[in-house]
């Protein structure tokens, strides 16, 4: 497995990016060269230099340090949204697939409704109803995300639910709960977990987008989307204020995607 991982340079690149991101998030105060929130009007709109490698913004804050601290916010959202929506979606999908009938109909029609909205639009209206804050964006994204896992898990459960080892467990008198959690789930969770690893990046992207339109993190938070949003007013004077936070988002999403793609190739060679 390790050899196959190394043989794909893109996967290695993705792995490195994610590794650097995690280190950055863990040790943000040590890596940042300045305070992420300290205003220093005298120093405003400085282009990149040795002192401020990504320049400074409209109130003189060091953009590099803000991006470093922003890593924490983005990774936390990506992690929390996936970790909260994954079990909900997985369990509902397993129940729908295994029990079938009315339960299946109810769960799957519900996911149909959620999936008939473009994700970002539904998240937007939920977050708007709850009021702008990063916690509400997190909640909105969880509400939007779970149905995907439900669909994936349901179809993998359907594929194995009539396998002989499941029938054997029933013949032994195992209760449905045991069959679902001990026999079915361990054998049908792989495709959904690959999707989850890809989703880290997409969640971060969506959260940044919602912050960009004013729904998520509020200034002066060093959240990347919010930074981009306020950079628009100084676009003419300071190209760096817009460029670097966006690159941070791009590399983060790309890193997680490459890693997820690589994992899929390794775990599920049919997809290649």
């Amino acid at each position: 497995m390790f050899r196959r991982l190394v043989s794909s340079p893109l996967t290695v690149f993705g792995f490195l990016v994610v590794f650097i991101l995690v280190i950055t998030a863990l040790f943000a105060p040590l890596i940042a060269t300045h305070s992420p929130t300290e205003v220093n009007i005298v120093n405003k709109l400085q282009p990149p230099s040795q002192e401020h490698i990504f320049g400074t913004d409209e109130v003189g804050r060091d953009i590099f340090s803000r991006i470093v601290h922003g890593t924490r916010i983005s990774l936390k959202i990506g992690f929390l949204v996936v970790i909260l929506s994954f079990p909900v979606g997985t369990i509902l999908g397993a129940i729908a697939g295994y029990f079938g009938g009315i339960v299946d109909q109810f769960i799957m029609r519900t996911t149909d409704i959620f999936l008939s909205f473009p994700g970002i639009i539904l998240a937007m209206s939920i977050a708007a109803a709850l009021g702008p804050s990063i916690e509400n964006v997190l909640l909105a994204l969880v509400i939007v995300w779970w149905p995907w896992y439900t669909r994936i898990v349901r179809s993998s459960v359907l594929a194995i639910k009539n396998a002989e080892f499941i029938e054997s467990a029933r013949a032994l008198g195992a209760n449905p709960f045991r069959i679902l959690f001990k026999e079915i789930l361990p054998n049908s969770i792989a495709p959904a977990s690959i999707q989850a690893s890809l989703d880290f990046g997409f969640v971060i992207l969506a959260a940044a987008g919602l912050s960009f339109i004013g729904l998520g993190a509020q200034p002066p938070s060093p959240e990347w989307g919010a930074m981009l949003s306020s950079s628009r007013e100084i676009l003419r004077e300071a190209w760096w204020a817009a460029t670097f936070p966006g690159l941070a988002i791009l590399f983060t999403v790309l890193g997680f995607n490459l890693l997820g793609d690589g994992l899929r190739d390794i775990l599920d060679p049919k997809q290649r």
């Binding site: 937007m124 339109i213 981009l228 966006g246 791009l250 790309l254 995607n257």
Partner: protein, 337 residues
């Protein structure tokens, strides 16, 4: 079963989804923290005034009565009144929808025009240099924050070299074409207004490409994997063995069969483009639904946000329905079941 019966059946199956959409949106609108009446009247309102407005707005009715009223309005196209513009939301939607639809159509056009050929080239040259480059570009596209790409393109093409406009749908000195569809490019074509056509096309370029960057990446990847599957099959080898030229085999035989999964993805891509419009429009001051929604969010204008949400969801499932029908038309193996 005939095509008509199939379409009717699909339309009937759409009804519960539509009902679900209204229940979900109604549920969301009812979670707004705080009292909408208090919000409207402001901090100086008297308790009696608030109570009167609550009664007027029907907020004291039981929840199912409120939903009934909400539905009664919706089926008549009444999305409520925008608390910011003080106009009927339906009027606002009518005004802003053509702009969004035009932008989305244009970006989908770019997506198909660029994404599918690149996917085919990538599959045909699998693991060679062109494939590696295309794959990396597609991956970057999928990971691209469109709202950032828009800003960077503005920075370069508008602020630095100044060859493209910085936003809006048409130059201020050009009068918009006579409204027929509400889409400037199509209306100016229909009325033969070449000046307006040129101006509106130029304004479409940056937002169109920005919005298409992500979907081009998605379509390229899908086309590649779908074509790879097809190219491995025996009938393609046979076509080559019979001496068919590369282009004929690729674009004739292979694409025809690789098209199916691509078509399905187009529906999803369309939804993605519609959703993306919220972000892209606000970067380019594009006067469409997205920018309207973002403004509404900033003014806590909730009926407007819900109006956009419902309209986009309905549009999204309609497009998917059309694709579903097309799918059956193209693939003779699928019977109308």
């Amino acid at each position: 079963m005939g095509a008509i019966r199939f379409i009717v059946k699909r339309l009937i199956l759409m009804l519960p989804i539509l009902l679900g959409i209204t229940i979900l949106t109604f549920f969301i609108s009812n979670t707004i923290p705080g009292d909408p009446a208090r919000l409207i009247l402001g901090p100086k309102a008297t308790p009696e005034g608030i109570e009167r407005l609550r009664e007027e707005m029907g907020l004291n009715d039981p929840i199912y009565v409120q939903y009934g009223k909400y539905m009664y309005g919706l089926v008549q196209g009444d999305f409520g009144k925008s608390t910011y513009s003080q106009q009927a939301v339906s009027e606002d939607l009518k005004r802003y929808f053509p702009a969004t639809f035009e932008l989305t159509l244009f970006s989908m056009f770019l997506t198909v025009l660029i994404g599918i050929p690149f996917g085919i080239i990538s599959a045909n040259k699998k693991d060679k240099i062109p494939d590696q480059i295309t794959r990396f570009m597609a991956l970057t596209g999928v990971a691209m924050p469109a709202f950032w790409l828009g800003i960077i393109l503005l920075l370069f093409f508008y602020l630095k070299i100044g060859i493209l406009p910085g936003g809006g749908r048409i130059d201020s000195w050009v009068s918009p074409p006579e409204a027929i569809t509400g889409m400037y490019t199509i209306d100016s074509l229909l009325t033969g207004n070449w000046e307006a056509l040129k101006s509106s096309l130029i304004h479409l370029i940056l937002p169109g490409f920005t919005q298409a960057a992500v979907t081009i990446g998605m379509i390229t990847r899908m086309t590649r994997s779908s074509m790879l599957e097809v190219l491995r099959s025996d009938y393609i080898r046979t076509a080559y063995a019979k001496g068919g030229s590369e282009n004929r085999v690729l674009y004739g035989h292979a694409l025809q069969n690789g098209m199916m999964p691509i078509l399905t993805l187009m529906g999803m891509t369309f939804g993605h483009a519609l959703g993306g419009s919220v972000l892209v429009e606000s970067v380019f001051s594009w006067p469409g639904l997205g920018r309207y929604a973002v403004n509404a969010i900033n003014y806590l204008d909730f009926p407007a946000v819900m109006g956009v949400t419902i309209l986009i969801a309905v549009l999204f499932i309609t497009v998917n329905l059309i694709i579903d029908i097309l799918y059956h038309v193209i693939d003779p193996r699928l019977k109308y079941e």
